[in-house]
């Protein structure tokens, strides 16, 4: 564990395009260690792509991404897997292995990467499940769990090997208020108790702003806002305020670009 750098992830000048579409155009981001950083932005700005860049699943066209001091896009397969073990990722759908019980799912990384005995693994699994509140559900199959429980079980699996950092991919999407509250509390708890760095990718402003230490707002391939939640709420940029306050019309227009309304109605179809 390198305690040297203050930022666990440093993104410098990263550009990425998919076909003709430019997704990122020279962005810079710093994810500080031990804090909760949120990455937000309107739908389709490439938040998922950013996560895949950080985890080394795809390589940027330009720029560097340093994870704990190592440039992840240039690593060979074995080194890549080694660095990935320091990262945990919680997927939107949970992505539990559907043919195994909750217990088996959480035990999986322990069995694969350690040589611990079954009794030690059992203790660890129960501890992780207790942390997320699912110790009683350990023998259930993923198909028997509710959406919120699936996410909590997946979270237990993600922290099984005690990673230094956890990336949450849209953790609040589609959750009822109680589920939301549970997740919020868990994210905060894990961050503080285990000294984890948390990266939350989301577009639920209120929830995310309530726990994040630092926010990044992405739009159209660039970082349009960075800082603490209160700063961004009162930002000078109208794009940022439109996003933060959820205004339906502003720099991101309500109307998809079209011809003049009057002409369209009277013209009768001739575009």
């Amino acid at each position: 564990m390198q305690d040297g750098t203050a930022n666990i992830i440093e993104i410098r000048g990263v550009s990425f395009s998919q076909g003709d579409r430019v997704i990122f155009d020279g962005i810079d981001m710093d994810i500080p260690r031990g804090q909760i950083t949120a990455i937000m932005g309107p739908s389709g700005t490439g938040k998922t792509t950013l996560m895949r860049l950080i985890t080394g699943q795809i390589k940027p066209d330009a720029g560097t991404i340093l994870v704990d001091g190592e440039n992840i896009s240039t690593l060979a397969r074995n080194d890549l897997y080694r660095v990935r073990r320091k990262m945990g990722m919680l997927f939107q759908s949970g992505a539990l292995f559907t043919d195994r019980t909750v217990y088996e799912n959480v035990a999986f990384p322990l069995r694969e990467h350690t040589n611990l005995t079954e009794t030690m693994i059992r203790d660890l699994v129960l501890m992780k499940l207790q942390a997320v509140g699912l110790r009683g559900a350990r023998d259930m199959l993923p198909s028997e769990l509710s959406g919120g429980m699936t996410r909590r079980a997946a979270l237990a699996r993600t922290i099984a090997l005690d990673p230094e950092m956890v990336i949450y991919d849209e953790p609040f999407a589609g959750q009822d208020p109680i589920g939301m509250g549970v997740l919020l509390q868990l994210i905060k708890l894990l961050n503080n108790a285990l000294g984890l760095t948390s990266v939350v990718v989301s577009h639920d402003i209120h929830e995310t702003a309530s726990i994040a230490d630092k926010l990044y707002v992405l739009s159209q391939g660039k970082v349009i806002g960075a800082g603490a939640p209160d700063e961004l709420m009162n930002s000078e940029s109208s794009m940022v305020t439109q996003f933060m306050k959820g205004e339906p019309d502003g720099p991101v227009p309500f109307h998809y670009p079209a011809h003049d309304y009057f002409d369209d109605l009277l013209g009768g179809g001739a575009l």
């Binding site: 945990g88 990722m89 699996r157 090997l161």
Partner: protein, 260 residues
């Protein structure tokens, strides 16, 4: 005009890139030192899913094909007074051709499509990505056991298919149509050679097992993780592996039996 040329060129390049990707995929999945302790349970589970669960369709199909061959063969041979040759007709047709080919086609339809759908679903629900994130190589953990299980299962299924088919053929010929039991088996044994017929049939089934499983697993791994993507990939698996089996069958038959 130019656009059409472009399209043809692009399809050609796409096709080449698929071939290349599938070879790289195979190499990454299978090469390297296998971890027997961890890999065995996975392999056994896949052998169950692909082999044991395919037994019903293989056994029933084998039985019916053997019986039909015997029936048809008898009706043709009886005109020449050679109905005792029905045994060798059934055995040679099954062991050389029908056994390997039909078993492979059934396997492609049943096990191949289920492999593609299963892996595709794992890809769509991000289980494959989460394996990568947990530091486990999905090619070694998910794909390799399935590939190896397919290579082993199809030859075994073909052997069972052949035996059941011949037994079915004997039921029809001896018990129903009255062919003399002794000459049925004696003619069959005289005409069927272990090395030329049985072993060549086995070699064919090993080749088919390799091709069908490779196509099925690769299609699952390579598809776009949406519901139409999974559907398309499953269809592709069945179509491509069936065509590959039939084409490979011709080549192998020409090599094995074609020295005229």
């Amino acid at each position: 005009m130019i656009t059409r040329l472009r399209i043809i060129g692009k399809s050609g390049l796409d096709w080449l890139s698929v071939c290349g990707r599938s070879c790289v995929f195979l190499a990454h999945s299978l090469c390297g030192v296998p971890n027997l302790r961890k890999g065995m349970p996975l392999l056994i589970k896949q052998l169950y899913a692909l082999g044991v669960l395919s037994l019903p369709i293989i056994v029933v199909s084998g039985l019916f094909i053997g019986m039909v061959m015997s029936l048809q063969g008898y009706s043709i041979l009886v005109d020449y007074g050679s109905e005792q040759a029905v045994g060798q007709m059934v055995s040679l047709s099954l062991v050389r051709e029908l056994g390997p080919v039909v078993a492979a086609l059934l396997f492609a339809g049943r096990a191949g499509s289920s492999l593609t759908a299963e892996i595709g679903l794992m890809k769509a629900t991000e289980q494959i990505t989460s394996l990568e994130m947990l530091g486990v190589d999905p090619l070694r953990y998910v794909m390799a056991p399935r590939l190896l299980a397919g290579f082993i299962a199809l030859p075994l299924l073909t052997l069972i298919f052949n035996v059941v088919g011949i037994w079915g053929g004997s039921l029809v010929a001896v018990d129903w149509l009255g062919v003399y039991d002794g000459s049925f088996w004696a003619n069959m044994q005289a005409a069927t050679d272990f090395k030329i017929d049985v072993l060549n049939g086995l070699v064919k089934s090993i080749a088919f097992g390799f091709v069908v499983t490779w196509i099925a697993v690769f299609q699952g791994h390579d598809l776009t993780p949406t519901s139409e993507g999974i559907g398309r990939a499953t269809t592709k698996t069945v179509v491509y592996s069936s065509l590959a089996v039939l084409g490979l069958d011709f080549i192998l038959t020409a090599v094995m039996f074609g020295d005229f």
